[in-house]
Structures are given as structure tokens and as C-alpha cells.
């Protein structure tokens, strides 16, 4: 008593575990694999999929190891013929209400249900019957929901509520027709942080921009999200030198969580609109007046922005910087430093931003300096 640890025995091996940890936690310490679909160590135990069943000496029914606490002296079996049969039956049941669309599914190769079906070798299914079918919904450009692939693990609902703190989705209806849904079956309209997509073990939730960009054998590029000062770690899954999807790993500063920009808004990387070389205006208007016509005017209509060659010419960095320095100096001399202002970006490093404000204050001589995350 009093101790916060207990000793239990799993498959003949002793393990010491925290008193308020689950049998599944303890088993994972021993690197024993117990199949699971709804377990997520960051979320409150759910106990829905019924795959993590184990036998505990002295209890008459199998116990869901993800939702049962360890006890001193407990003796657990993680795999017996009986348990494997129960697990297999549950996978069979799931597959009896599943579109079996692995051929085209974004998640194939990285899908827990597919993996279990493979593991248990389920080609023939004893069960058959009505299957859920839903029309495609949502106009948002980020998240695709194919709810007939949902296995009701509840991870999306829980992460949205418990971690993201949004509660945009919950279970609706009863019985086989239970469905994860935004309120009143409206279109999904939320933060689109994609935390739900990240935890979904199946192809029910995927990124729209993932489509046909490849599913496996990615080259992983570890990098930092360029969008804001938080500096979340992201992993680019690259295929054919193109980003196929973006995710974040759990052992990062942001613990795998991202926001809509970091997770989904990466299309700029391969955008035709990106400037890859400096441009210098050929006939700049008079000082102090902004050019009235918008040189980018027709960029929105066509496929990519092409700078108007009548107004811009490409230049080298060397020339561009020299030109900028020269013009800044001219303007400052003529009108004073306070007509100049500088806007930096959270997408730059701290060091860059520090230097920038230093430059504005010392070299240009103005306090007109700001930044989307504020100086």
C-alpha cells in the first residue's frame, strides 16, 4: 500500500507499472502488441472497438485492456486462441459494414483496419447485411469525410473535444446508423486543424489535397512550419519531388498537433505564382505615389502568375539588393526616414526578425516596423 506502482504479470513476464495505468499501457512497456483501434494514449479511454481484449485470471469475461486499470498481482494473457477468435470476429463484423475500397483509398497501406483484415486473413466473411452509404458532403477544401469507412473509434470526436477544445463533431443517431457528424448534419465548418484526420485509423477522414498524390514509400523531410512563430515541426511526405501530404510526429515540440495552415495549406510550395528570382520594375512611377494599376491584376484568372514583362525584369540578387539600398537611401535623404516602414514576417527566424528591426531602427532610422506576430 501507499506505493504508486504495482507489479503484474503479462504472458508470463513481470512488469512494474504505474498504479493508474491501464493493462494496455503495461503491455506496451513489455513491447507486447495488442491490437487496438480506438486506443489513443493522449485521450480518455473509450473502450469501443473491443479488439484489445485480454484474459485476466479470476474474471469470467475478457477485459478491454485499454480501459482497465492494472492491479497488484494481476495475471494477464494477451493472446490465446479464444481471444484471437473474438478479435477476428470483431474485425469480421467491421468489414461486414465497410466499403472495402482499399484499391482507391487514400489510407491503403497505412490503415489499421486493412492491416487487421490482412493479419486475420479475412477473405470470406461469415457476416453480411446492410451497409451504411452516405452522400459526399462538405465544400471545404481541406477535409474529406467518407463516413461509410468510419469504424466509430471516436478518436476524432475526442481529440476535437479534449485537445483541440472545439467540439465540432460528435456521434449522432443510434445502432448501425450511428455516425460522427457536425451538429444537425451540416457541412463541417470548424478550425480545420486536421487533428481528427491525423488520428483517424482508417480512410474515413483524409486530406482532400492528398488525392492521387501517392500513398506509400514517401521520402520524409523533417522541417519547421513556415507559417507562424510557433514553429511547429512538420514532416513533408514527398513523392516525385512533390509534397504528397504533411503531418507531424508525436515526439515534436507541438506533439503532433498542427493548425490548418501547417497541415493543409502547403500548395504554395509548388505554386506557379512563386517568385523564384528578384524582379525590378522597369518604369517606376514617381516617388511617394503607389502605382495605380495593379500589376498582379490578371494573375487570379489564369493558371499561374506571370509578371508583366512590360513592367518587370528579372534581376540578380546582387543587383536587386543594391538597387533597394540605393532607392531607400534616396527616399530617406529626400523625405526623411519616417516615410519608410518595414513589415517582417513570422515565417522568418527570430534572428532574421531581430536583424530586421535593428536594420529599420539603426540603418533606416525609423520605428515604423511591424510583424504579423508583433515585435
Amino acid at each position: 500500500m501507499g506505493s504508486s506502482k504495482v507489479t503484474l504479470n503479462i504472458d508470463g513476464k513481470e512488469v512494474i507499472a504505474e498504479k493508474n495505468s491501464t493493462i494496455l499501457d503495461a503491455a506496451r512497456k513489455l513491447e507486447i502488441t495488442i491490437p487496438s483501434l480506438c486506443h489513443n494514449p493522449d485521450l480518455v479511454p473509450f473502450g469501443g472497438c473491443r479488439l484489445c481484449l485480454v484474459e485476466v485470471a479470476g474474471t469470467s469475461r475478457p477485459v478491454a485492456s485499454c480501459a482497465a486499470l492494472v492491479q497488484e498481482g494481476m495475471r494477464v494473457k494477451s493472446s490465446t486462441n479464444y481471444l484471437e477468435r473474438l478479435r477476428r470476429t470483431n474485425v469480421e463484423l467491421l468489414l461486414s459494414d465497410h466499403p472495402n475500397d482499399c484499391m482507391l483509398c487514400e489510407r491503403a497501406g497505412n490503415c489499421k483496419l486493412q492491416e487487421l483484415a490482412y493479419y486475420y486473413g479475412i477473405r470470406e466473411n461469415r457476416f453480411e447485411g446492410i451497409r451504411r452509404e452516405y452522400p459526399e458532403q462538405d465544400n471545404n477544401p481541406f477535409i474529406r469525410r467518407e463516413m461509410e469507412k468510419c469504424i466509430m473509434c471516436g478518436q476524432c470526436v475526442r481529440i476535437c473535444d479534449e485537445i483541440q477544445g472545439v467540439g465540432a463533431i460528435d456521434f449522432a443517431y443510434k445502432g448501425l446508423w450511428t455516425k460522427v457528424s457536425p451538429p444537425f448534419e451540416k457541412d463541417l465548418d470548424c478550425e480545420f486543424c486536421g487533428q481528427c484526420v491525423a488520428v483517424c485509423p482508417t480512410g474515413a477522414l483524409t486530406g482532400r489535397m492528398w488525392a492521387s498524390k501517392g500513398r506509400q514509400k514517401f521520402r520524409e523531410v523533417e522541417t519547421v512550419c513556415p507559417y507562424c512563430g510557433c514553429g511547429c515541426n512538420i514532416t513533408l511526405a514527398v513523392k516525385k519531388n512533390e509534397i504528397a501530404r504533411v503531418y507531424s510526429k508525436k515526439d515534436t515540440v507541438n506533439q503532433g498537433m498542427l493548425c490548418v495552415k501547417g497541415r493543409f495549406a502547403y500548395d504554395f510550395v509548388h505554386s506557379q505564382d512563386r517568385l523564384t528570382r528578384p524582379l525590378i520594375r522597369i518604369n517606376p512611377a514617381k516617388d511617394l505615389y503607389l502605382h495605380q494599376e495593379n500589376p498582379y491584376a490578371d494573375s487570379s484568372s489564369s493558371a499561374g502568375f506571370k509578371p508583366d514583362p512590360a513592367q518587370f525584369r528579372e534581376a540578380s540578387w546582387e543587383e536587386a539588393l543594391d538597387y533597394t539600398a540605393l532607392r531607400l537611401k534616396e527616399i530617406k535623404d529626400r523625405h526623411g526616414p519616417d516615410v519608410i516602414g518595414g513589415l517582417a514576417s513570422a515565417r522568418c527566424t527570430n534572428e532574421d526578425n531581430y536583424l530586421f528591426q535593428k536594420f529599420m531602427r539603426m540603418a533606416v532610422g525609423t520605428n515604423n516596423v511591424d510583424h504579423c506576430a508583433r515585435y
Partner: protein
């Protein structure tokens, strides 16, 4: 009030009101107050509305009690009131043709009313009526003269066990909550009454709302709870209304609120109108629901009594359980224990329905036999057909055959017989019920009521239902019975909550006791009880047919051929098995098999 008084008690439960109870009550009251009667008579005569006494099939029930002598009238309509008033109340001779018959008498006489004792006797909307029958004395006593441990010991000794289905010892449950050192604790009355065929809790909450509240107060005293919820399905509108009124009355009299009975303890009880899904009655789902979330069961890492609403100790008791509590405190633990069996004290209320002569709410001592309930209280099988089985415990209960009729109704014996106490629903089946069709009927309810959280229950129950559907429609396959057994026991062993653990019961129990009937459906494509439409054939018996042509006229499918005065013939290809020809033939010349 016994001597020299006339009391007219008009049943005012939900069933009665829909049969015109309010009009009957009004008619009596008008007559009592009519001006041409002597004032002295008016002083000693009154018409009361009272709770349901269980025989809703014969509503509106009216008791006329003259100088303590009771006469019961049944199926009273407001136009019958003047004659009853004239001949009986004024004239002294009961209107015999309208009084309760023998069946009615034996229905009432073979019961043992404890928890239903006030239902049908006192006005549920009148706090003083409850005080007149010693109401709130037990609560006052508990708060003023008893220590929590004393109360808990007394409840334990009474052998009161939860009437919500699982039969957990109420005293022990209270003790768990009592022992947790925590300021904030809750007492909850579970009035969800999940089973659509049960109505015991509704009648108790409608007919004796103060008893439920008093039970909650005693529980609050025992465990140290400052807050209570009555969790009741919103559809029970009359019960909601009466409980709300009762709570208001209690707050007004200071029975609830701050420092109740000068004990220093505060107690606030609120009504929580529930959405009323089946699963809302399950304790962990109920906690979720009260916390404002979707009612879905959660894994029981710890006990609800220790870690319930907002993580605080919470005692959840069924409405009937709670209504028993004041009686135990008043009449003693050994009195209550003595009513029942060694393991379970008191009585149990059942909702007796199906093919019995007298349908209704019946209260019998724990340990009475099923035979007593069906034959003594229920008056036997309707139209004296052959008994086939009883579905016990609601749609998640089991169906037991005739050989179990001598089983006792208590938690252990029913488990041995192959079913559960559950909601206390009892549906009696006779030879005209098809067992497969009956199982399908219950699974149709449960597969739709699964909360959807766990795989075996959400998908498995649907698949079981679909297998039954194919068996009853003539598409059963070899091995379907075994598949049902396998899947049923899989759902039972692997589901998260008590729902999935019991929902396959109707199938598992009927496969166990009526396996042949399943096999006949599958192998012979026949339904012995002639219920499953797709398995019936209708044909014309040549020798008996007079050629009257009646069947031909009623057949909606134009399936019958024949010329007048010649035997007719049914084209099986066209027949849609509607049964109209069978019903219309006056000569019994249509064979249904």
C-alpha cells in the same frame, strides 16, 4: 375518514386519462357539488384523483368507498357517472353490472402491494394526502434520529436490491458512496425506464411521487449528498409534471432546500428531463447525459458510487428501489426482508402483458412463481389457449418455456432459468406466437437502440436481426442457428456495457428452448405458429369449397381462379399471402399452413 364518509377514487394515471379519466372525475365532482344536496353530505363526500392501480386495460377504474367499504367499478365513462351516483352513492346499492368482475378481483387479490400501496389510494398531487399516510416521517426520522451508518445497516438488513435490473445490494452501494471522503456527492433517481414495454416506474412516479423523493432524501442523508437529480424521460409528461409539482411542494414546506429538518444538511433535488433513449438508463451513460454529453456508456474504471457525476460519488438508484426505502425505515428491515427470499427482500413490480387474460402492473413478493403471476394474477392465458413461453426482463431479457413456470421470481432463480429480472417486463406468449418472429420483434428494438459505441453490439445486433429476418422470410440457411448462437454469445462476452451483454438474450434463450421451431423454419420453410407470412401457403380445399366466390372477390392479388359453384383454386405464384381469403371464407375451405 373511514366512518361516515364517501370517497370516490378516480384513477388518474396516463392510461386512465387517455380513457377519459379526467372527464369522469369532473362528472363526479360536479355531482358532489350540485346544489340540491345537503351540505352535511357534501362535507363528508369527496372525489379524489388517485394514481394508477395497474389494471389499465379496464380503465377508467373508480373505487367508491362508503364508510370504509370499497366497491370497484371498471371501464367507467362519464355518462355512467350519474347512475353510479344516483343508485350507489345516494341510494346505497352498487350498480352490479359495472362493478369489477372475478378476474379483476383475483388480479388484485393475488398481489402484494408494498411499493404500489399508495397508487390508487392517495392523490399524488396533494402533499397533505401523502403526509396523512405518514409521508416524510421516515425522512424526518433519518435526518433527526439516525446516523448514516444506521440507515445503511438497516437497508442492508432489509435485503433491498436494485430494481433497475442488475439487483445490486442497495445498502452496499450506499456504503461505497458514504465511505468516500468528499464534500460534493449526488443522489440520482433513475426514471428513464428504458424498456418500451415496461411502465412500473412511470406508475410509481405518477402515482406516488413523494415516495420517490422521500427515498432520495433518505439516501442523501445516508451518503451525505447535497444534490439530487431525478433523471426521467421527457415523454413521461404526467410523471414529469407531478414530480415537478412534488418538488415544488417540498421546497415550499422546507423538506428540501437549506438545513432540512434542522439537521444542518442542505439538499436540492432537480428534475432532469432526459431524451429517453434505451441507453440513457444505463448508469454510466446516465452520468454522461447529466454532464451534458451524449448518453454513451463509458468503461467502468471505478465505481459510479465512488466516481460519478463530475467525478464525485454518485448513487444511482431506480425509482422503484427508492420508493421502497421510506417503507423499510417505517416498517423495519426484518419486515421487508421477510416479504421476500433469503437473498432478496420485498416485492417486485412487473409489467404483465401479452396473451394473459388480465394485463397490467402487478406487484408480487420476491420468490413468487411465474405460474402464480401468469395464472393467479393474470388469470391464465387469453381464450384458454396453450401457454408457450414468457419473455422476461424486457427486450434484452430472455424467453423461457413452460418448464420454467415454477421458477421463482428473484435474481438468482431467473438467471438459472435463462433470463433476467431486467426491467420487470413480462410478455406472455401462447401457441399462436411464433418464437422466431418474437425474437425478431425484440431484436428489431434493440438493434436500433444500441448506442453505437462498440463494434459487437452496433454491428453484431444488426447482423443477428438480419439473420432472423432471412429465417422468417423463408431464406434461412443451414448453419444459421449456429451462427446466431455464435454471434449472440460473442456480443454477450465482448460488449462494453450491460446492453450488449444482454441484448442477444431473446435469441439465445429461444434457440436454447425452442431450437426445433428455428429448424422447421429453415429446413421445412414452415412456420408452425402460422405467423411468418412468407412461409405460409393458402390453398383451397376442393371437398369443402362451395364455389361461392367470396375469396375471389376479396383477393387483392387476383390469385384465385374458379367458376361459380365449382371448387376454386389459388395460384401460388400470384398469392401475396395477405390472408383475406382465409378470413372471408364462410365454409372453412381455405387451408392456411
Amino acid at each position: 375518514m373511514d366512518n361516515n364518509s364517501v370517497v370516490i377514487k378516480v384513477c388518474s394515471g396516463t392510461g386512465s386519462i387517455s380513457a377519459g379519466g379526467a372527464e369522469v372525475l369532473h362528472a363526479f365532482r360536479e355531482l358532489v357539488l350540485s346544489s340540491d344536496l345537503e351540505a352535511s353530505f357534501q362535507d363528508r363526500c369527496r372525489a379524489d384523483k388517485v394514481g394508477c392501480r395497474g389494471f389499465c386495460a379496464r380503465d377508467v377504474l373508480v373505487d367508491v368507498v362508503i364508510d370504509g367499504e370499497k366497491t370497484t367499478y371498471e371501464r367507467v365513462k362519464s355518462d355512467m357517472v350519474p347512475r353510479i351516483f344516483e343508485e350507489h352513492i345516494l341510494g346505497g346499492s352498487p350498480v352490479q353490472e359495472w362493478t369489477a368482475d372475478e378476474l379483476h378481483q383475483s388480479f388484485q387479490d393475488n398481489q402484494k402491494k408494498v411499493v404500489l400501496a399508495h397508487c390508487g389510494e392517495i392523490d399524488p398531487e396533494d402533499l397533505d394526502a401523502y403526509l396523512n399516510v405518514k409521508g416524510y416521517e421516515a425522512a424526518r426520522n433519518a435526518f433527526n434520529d439516525m446516523q448514516p451508518v444506521e440507515i445503511i445497516e438497516k437497508i442492508k438488513r432489509s435485503k433491498l436490491r436494485g430494481r433497475g435490473g442488475a439487483g445490486f445490494s442497495t445498502g452496499h452501494k450506499w456504503e461505497f458512496a458514504y465511505k468516500v471522503d468528499e464534500k460534493e456527492k449526488y443522489v440520482v433517481c433513475n426514471g428513464n425506464e428504458s424498456d418500451p414495454g415496461a411502465f412500473a416506474d412511470r406508475c410509481i412516479m405518477e402515482g406516488d411521487p413523494h415516495a420517490v423523493i422521500e427515498g432520495m432524501m433518505i439516501c442523501a442523508r445516508a451518503i451525505g449528498a447535497g444534490k439530487g437529480y431525478i433523471y426521467i424521460r421527457d415523454g413521461y409528461s404526467l410523471a414529469v409534471k407531478r414530480l415537478r409539482l412534488a418538488l415544488k411542494q417540498c421546497h415550499e414546506r422546507g423538506f428540501l432546500g437549506k438545513n432540512i429538518f434542522e439537521s444542518g444538511q442542505d439538499l436540492d433535488i432537480r428534475l432532469y428531463p432526459a431524451p429517453g433513449a434505451f441507453i440513457c438508463g444505463e448508469a454510466t451513460a446516465l452520468v454522461q447525459s447529466i454532464e451534458g454529453k451524449r448518453a454513451m456508456p463509458t468503461p467502468r474504471l471505478t465505481r459510479t458510487s465512488e466516481n460519478g457525476i463530475r467525478g464525485k460519488p454518485t448513487v444511482i438508484n431506480n425509482a422503484e428501489t427508492l420508493a421502497n426505502v421510506p417503507k423499510i425505515l417505517r416498517n423495519g428491515a426484518s419486515w421487508f426482508a421477510g416479504l421476500g427470499t433469503d437473498t432478496s427482500g420485498g416485492t417486485k413490480v412487473f409489467s404483465l402483458t401479452g396473451k394473459v387474460k388480465s394485463n397490467g402492473l402487478v406487484e408480487v413478493p420476491m420468490g413468487a412463481t411465474l405460474r402464480d403471476v401468469v395464472y393467479k394474477v393474470g388469470g391464465g392465458i387469453d381464450q384458454d389457449r396453450a401457454f408457450k413461453g414468457i419473455q422476461l426482463g424486457g427486450p434484452t431479457g430472455g424467453c423461457v418455456p413452460e418448464s420454467c413456470l415454477d421458477s421463482r421470481v428473484d435474481y438468482e432463480s431467473l438467471a438459472v432459468a435463462g433470463t433476467i429480472m431486467g426491467s420487470g417486463g413480462m410478455v406472455v406468449l401462447d401457441e399462436t406466437n411464433c418464437i422466431v418472429d418474437t425474437a425478431k420483434f425484440f431484436l428489431d428494438i434493440t438493434q436500433a437502440e444500441s448506442c453505437g459505441k462498440c463494434t459487437p453490439c452496433r454491428i453484431g445486433m444488426r447482423r443477428m436481426y438480419e439473420i432472423l429476418e432471412r429465417i422468417t422470410s423463408g431464406n434461412g440457411r443451414d448453419g444459421d442457428v449456429e451462427l446466431l448462437e455464435d454471434l449472440g454469445s460473442h456480443i454477450r462476452t465482448t460488449s462494453l456495457c450491460g446492453f450488449g451483454m444482454t441484448a442477444p438474450n431473446p435469441v439465445l434463450s429461444t434457440v436454447r428452448f425452442f431450437r426445433d421451431e428455428y429448424n422447421i423454419h429453415i429446413r421445412d420453410r414452415k412456420c408452425p405458429a402460422l405467423v411468418c407470412k412468407s412461409l405460409l401457403t393458402f390453398s383451397c380445399i376442393e371437398e369443402t369449397c362451395t364455389g361461392c366466390g367470396m375469396c375471389k372477390r376479396v383477393c387483392p392479388a387476383d390469385a384465385i381462379r374458379g367458376t361459380r359453384k365449382k371448387p376454386h383454386f389459388i395460384d401460388q405464384e400470384l398469392c401475396v399471402k395477405c390472408g383475406s381469403c382465409f378470413d372471408s371464407c364462410k365454409f372453412g375451405a381455405i387451408l392456411k399452413e
